[in-house]
């Protein structure tokens, strides 16, 4: 393995993020090729965390743009500070400044509210990490707009002029696949699919993140989650749920799983009434041993 990639993996692990070669490689490539990295995967597998860890690793700022339906350029790029402009006009009343001067005054940088995309472009010092979270929630129009910004990292504000990024930010895009993203966006970005972690990785994650859990419990939790995810659930629990659950079990001073404990703490893992019902039926017919096979030790 290339030293740089190993180093990234070590740094990510050092920042409390359990990872693997695939993710470390794509982060390495995103940084060296200076290309946006699109991470797709189920909810709660730790996509957003990659950007946070990257920022910590590079000791730089994380700028986050949370996408939602109806998000537009005013929310993502910049907006004028209208109350401030109004006040300024009031204060200017009676002065003999011309219309042109007044206009130039209120449409200048002090009156500009920088939203995440503009912040990311105009940041001084080290290039920041720009996290565009859940891009699949935004509309197609916004995606097209985003594409434009990401391709040349420059923004034109009619009243001020064109602002070019002093240094392009590192860009991470995440998607839960609520909507298919356009091919244009996919072509422009590097791609990484993030699946639910395998058994060993999940054990490592639990042990790392929830220190109160012993190895036996961590293994039982991970085995349980692995089996649970094979049921046809409406809302498949991610790593976030695993960790919530481990935390809850740890605060109950549990050192292994039993049926009663699982039933009591089920709310940490299953968030849908139908799923709970389905799971309970499974539990009644097959018992807990289907989910947590006794390990030979």
């Amino acid at each position: 393995m290339r030293a740089e990639i190993r180093k990234i993996q070590e740094m990510m692990e050092g920042a409390d993020y359990v990872t693997d070669a695939a993710i470390a490689t794509s982060v390495h490539l995103g940084m060296t090729l200076k290309k946006p990295l699109l991470i797709e995967g189920h909810a709660g597998v730790g996509k957003t965390e990659v950007a946070k860890v990257m920022a910590r690793m590079l000791e730089t700022n994380l700028i986050r743009l949370q996408c939602y339906e109806g998000l537009d350029a005013a929310q993502a790029l910049y907006e004028w500070n209208y109350p401030k402009q109004l006040l300024h006009i009031k204060l200017e009343e009676g002065t003999d400044h011309s219309l042109k001067q007044k206009e130039a005054a209120i449409f200048s940088e002090p009156f500009l509210i920088k939203r995440p995309l503009l912040q990311a472009i105009t940041q001084d010092g080290r290039p920041p990490v720009l996290l565009i979270d859940e891009v699949d929630r935004s509309d197609e129009e916004f995606e097209a707009f985003l594409l434009e910004v990401l391709s040349d990292f420059q923004v034109t504000i009619p009243e001020i002029g064109t602002i070019v990024a002093t240094q392009p930010p590192y860009v991470i895009l995440t998607s839960n696949r609520n909507r298919e993203l356009s091919d244009a966006l996919r072509r422009r970005a590097l791609y990484q699919w993030m699946d639910f972690p395998g058994f060993d990785k999940e054990v490592r994650i639990v042990m790392r993140k929830v220190p109160g859990v012993n190895e036996r419990l961590a293994r039982e939790i991970s085995r349980f989650m692995e089996t649970l995810r094979t049921l046809r659930l409406a809302k498949v629990p991610g790593v976030a749920e695993t960790l919530d659950w481990a935390q809850a079990l740890s605060s109950l001073h549990a050192d292994h799983l039993d049926e009663e404990l699982v039933t009591e703490t089920l709310g940490c893992v299953l968030k849908d009434a139908d799923d709970v019902r389905r799971f309970k039926r499974e539990l009644q017919t097959t018992g807990l041993k289907r989910f947590v096979p006794v390990e030979g030790s």
Binding site: R2, A21, T25, S26, L29, K35, K102, I106, R186
Partner: protein
């Protein structure tokens, strides 16, 4: 240790050709990124080379199996030479792959063609002609005639009418997107400009409120019992898909297939050919299980602004309980669920099949789909709850 870039470029471009043959066309700039990626990884480490190329050249997870096959061949070729990665300097034997590519589509097509689809491919071969609306009386006759009784010579007309109806439906849905006028939102930016000299905002500028969009999800039964109707309904789906932007289309008999991509494009023949490749030929209908699959894998496509249209005769060989369960799931998420049943055109038909009986109480609108008039009448029901 790294091979000279020129050879890396050659090898990568050839790899790109193989990917294209495997159905993953990549642009030159993506391939160039892959070359740059190869320059910053360990070329002796197979897994690392694999990860680097995958990061650059796979753009959705579904492409991974095809990519893996290409990569295996790529790596084997360069490593099996006994020269390890020095092999990156030799060209790929592309004649073999060429032959393979030429054979595959032709063979696959023949194997997969079904009777219903085959008929359509020949009969509507004059796709390029402009749409014509037949004379009124003739048209009325066509509108009311049951799909299953059409003689072959009328099929062209039916195809045209189907497209017209789909277009009208699409227009209707897009008109309904616009909410009742509420004056729109205040556009502060333009208001500021307009009132700059007044010192106060007097003259408010407004802009139109964002339109709420309606999405369509179509799920069409293509099992044996629907054969007489599915050729028309597929035409209808194709037309809807292409005149109305936000449509997702699925077909099922015993398993669910997403055909949205296959239905896109200007030629219905091409769409049919692509459909034939993915069609589910096994006998029997498992509506419940297919919906279960839909709810599991594609649930995210459905929200309060989605109208789900199911096209099926309700002959289900699966458990009615499963169907009822999945219908309930669907209904809870969707803005509206419409079930179109071609058999409903028969006056003596009663929805007594076990599946139909289970699903019926959970449907917002239950209607016929046996002739053009019934498709046309759908317009009034394409609204949200």
């Amino acid at each position: 240790m790294a091979a000279p870039p020129r050879d890396l470029v050659t090898a990568t471009l050839r790899f790109g050709q193989n990917l294209r043959r495997a159905g993953l066309p990549r642009t030159v700039s993506e391939l160039m990124d892959a070359v740059r990626a190869l320059e910053v990884v360990d070329l002796l480490d197979r897994h690392e080379v694999y990860l680097a190329l995958r990061t650059c050249l796979v753009s959705r997870v579904e492409e991974t199996p095809a990519f893996d096959r290409c990569f295996d061949a790529f790596w084997k070729f360069h490593a099996d030479d006994g020269q390890g990665l020095e092999g990156l300097t030799s060209p790929m034997p592309d004649h073999q792959a060429d032959e393979h590519a030429a054979e595959a589509p032709a063979g696959g097509e023949q194997k997969h063609e079904s009777v219903a689809l085959e008929g359509w491919e020949e009969e509507s071969a004059d796709d390029g002609e402009p749409l014509e609306v037949p004379g009124k009386s003739e048209r009325e006759v066509l509108m009311d005639r049951d799909f299953s009784t059409f003689p072959a010579e009328d099929l062209d007309e039916v195809a045209r009418l189907t497209i017209l109806i789909a277009k009208r439906l699409a227009r209707r849905v897009s008109r309904r997107r616009r909410p009742t006028r509420r004056g729109g939102v205040i556009d502060l930016r333009r208001s500021m400009r307009a009132n700059m000299m007044k010192g106060e905002i007097i003259d408010l500028r407004r802009r139109e409120r964002r339109r709420r969009k309606v999405k369509l999800v179509l799920v069409c039964d293509v099992s044996g019992s629907m054969d007489l109707y599915s050729r028309f309904l597929l035409q209808f789906l194709y037309a809807l898909q292409n005149v109305f932007g936000r449509v997702e289309t699925f077909t099922f008999a015993t398993r669910l297939t997403r055909v949205t991509e296959q239905l896109k494009g200007h030629s219905y023949q091409m769409a049919l050919r692509r459909l034939a490749d993915v069609r589910d030929f096994s006998g029997g209908t498992r509506i419940g299980e297919s919906l279960q699959e839909f709810n599991r894998a594609w649930r995210a496509l459905v929200d309060r602004r989605t109208i789900v249209i199911l096209l099926s005769d309700g002959w289900d060989t699966g458990e009615p309980e499963v169907l009822a369960n999945e219908m309930l799931m669907l209904r809870r998420r969707a803005g509206r669920v419409i079930w179109l049943n071609p058999l409903l055109g028969n006056p003596s038909y009663e929805p007594l099949t076990r599946g139909m009986a289970a699903a019926l109480p959970l449907v917002d609108h239950f209607a016929a789909a046996h002739n053009l008039a019934s498709l046309r009448d759908l317009a009034g029901h394409l609204t949200l709850r």
